[in-house]
Subunit: 349 residues, 2 copies
């Protein structure tokens, strides 16, 4: 028999089941608040990260992406897909998993599901942006697109900004009904609406999160009043947008990583030098966030690797004192590092 | 309690332990031969793959790389590190794991260790290249660098080409001694040597596989006689080469994917338009392989994503009828795909 692998060779793995246990152990709103803070802390040290647009493999049905980053000590990457037609087949549009590794050795130190974690970190990133960009004292948000991310978005805005009222709209009434049920008992006042126009009535924050892989116009210019903050999540892929370009012309646009957002975000509709502000500069105070009561702010969110890095590190910290992980024998570990062959041969016995 | 995940949500995972069992069930030389054939079959349809240079994150200590590819039906990627100083710490220089996913849904269908599998596929790729480039009837190989890959290289040349004699050299006598022991009983005649010059004496195939992250000169021009095939594996990273450039000037150079090899291979020493032949064109017959008895052929091997794709598909096919895998709960799978939040909330109970 082969020897038992050494601890170096075992990588902690957080399954979907264990991720759910971890979230409930900490409490969902607490997780969203803490994630918002760890993401903000990493945006504050933005310049210490290696940054690259994600590596996308496009097909007719969707996209598979790898999202790596590193702060020089820790390396992370996420595998994530986006397949809008999956839903009709009973599958998730977005599934993901991710990994942390030590830069100094290249050895993985955490493997985890990230379908749930991506929903949490996307909501936390929205809340972090809204903390800097939404009108002070905002209490009402519109949630347009009531798919898998919708409730996470609403709860993060409640937990971090104190949003009290969410107005829901989706082209599919069943999706609205699902979100209404899921958010009952959350402490939010929930209003299902029959049109996007109705949903955004009185909302200081408008979040769009739809999934079609096409140029769509979820919001048109005449629907958007002065002073609101728009959180545009669904336009996150070449050929996939949600807002009419006239809205962009009236708004000040904030982005994560311009080289990626110009390919994937709402601003793919604009010239390559269209003026945007990097969100991390707002966080550090180098750039202005909201500057007036009538200003329209737009967070053209596509999701960036540093947010996953933050979320992965958070899970690593929080899971370590629990039993919510298992050890995976994924790294070969011969007694003598050059003796990989000998390890294999000894396993024959 | 949450429901049990559906089969869609469970991803087969092959641990190090199970990979070793699978290799021994099939037989090591059979695995090497079959891998050589599946890699050659995929080289034959090279044009059907999405190709991109791997995404590398460099640090002082080493490199972490992601290597994706797709044939339009199946997507694969490998995570692999290269940390030459790891050995001194009792760690592997190279560790790896990889994944296959369906392009149509983005859902993973296999996760596996690839430290052992990378050694196997690298040896099989060398054998595949040598089948087209080495002098006919070659019976002796020199193996310079007797680290973790050495025995795999020797056995693949035996299994695929009928090599009978391997001459070993390493700067560390302990590495040579390890390889001698591991190859005893393999059916190969094994000769430990005290210098690179001695090792290449009479060898028709010279394989270099050293690990220093620097410009090194393992072979100089005057050491290399006419008619040999050189299989250069260790020069696989910017700033990391093994051959003196004068050897390249006398040899015909064959590569996997030129945009990657020009960055990482021996030819990083040459001009950006230095003439090379793509190995896949030799496999299909579009380009000439060995053309004469005095020609020096050089396979400037760096490792390309398609080789991992082939190896991953092979493991998927071969493991499916065995019990050498476990099911990982890594994909969140709500009953209703938009109800990720509901799945999370129901798990609270």
């Amino acid at each position: 028999m082969a020897q038992l692998p050494s601890p170096k060779a075992l990588v902690p793995f957080v399954s979907v089941e264990n991720m759910m246990r971890l979230v409930h152990r900490i409490g969902l709103e607490t997780v969203l608040k803490e994630l918002t803070d760890v993401i903000e802390a990493d945006f504050r040290r933005w310049e210490s990260f290696d940054k690259t647009p994600r590596v996308a493999s496009h097909s007719r049905e969707g996209v598979i992406e790898l999202m790596p980053t590193s702060d020089g000590e820790i390396y992370s990457f996420k595998y994530v897909n986006g397949h809008p037609k999956n839903m009709a087949r009973g599958l998730q549009t977005v599934t993901a998993f991710g990994l942390l590794a030590e830069v100094s050795t290249g050895y993985p130190v955490l493997l985890t599901e990230m379908t749930i974690l991506t929903a949490l970190r996307t909501a936390a990133t929205s809340a972090m942006a809204a903390r800097h960009l939404a009108p002070k004292g905002a209490r009402t948000m519109a949630m347009i697109g009531n798919g898998a991310q919708a409730e996470f978005q609403a709860l993060a805005m409640k937990a971090v900004l104190g949003i009290e009222h969410v107005r829901l709209y989706d082209i599919d009434p069943q999706a609205i009904a699902k979100a209404v049920i899921n958010l009952s008992g959350s402490g939010l006042m929930v209003t299902p609406c029959t049109s996007p126009q109705a949903a955004i009535e009185g909302a200081e924050i408008i979040t769009t999160c739809t999934a079609d892989k096409q140029y769509a116009t979820i919001l048109t210019d005449n629907m958007v009043g002065a002073g609101v903050h728009i959180n545009a999540i669904g336009g996150d892929c070449p050929g996939k947008t949600e807002l009419h370009r006239d809205i962009l012309l009236r708004a000040d646009t904030f982005v994560e990583y311009p080289p990626q957002t110009r390919i994937e975000g709402e601003i793919q509709q604009m010239d390559p030098d269209y003026a945007v502000t990097e969100l991390w500069k707002v966080v550090t105070g180098e750039a202005k966030g909201r500057s007036g009561a009538r200003q329209i702010t737009l967070f053209d969110s596509v999701g960036f690797a540093i947010e996953d890095f933050s979320a992965l590190r958070y899970v690593r910290d929080r899971v370590s004192a629990t039993s919510f992980y298992q050890e995976l024998d994924i790294i070969a570990d011969p007694d003598e590092p050059r003796d990989l062959f000998g390890m294999l041969q000894r396993a024959k016995a």
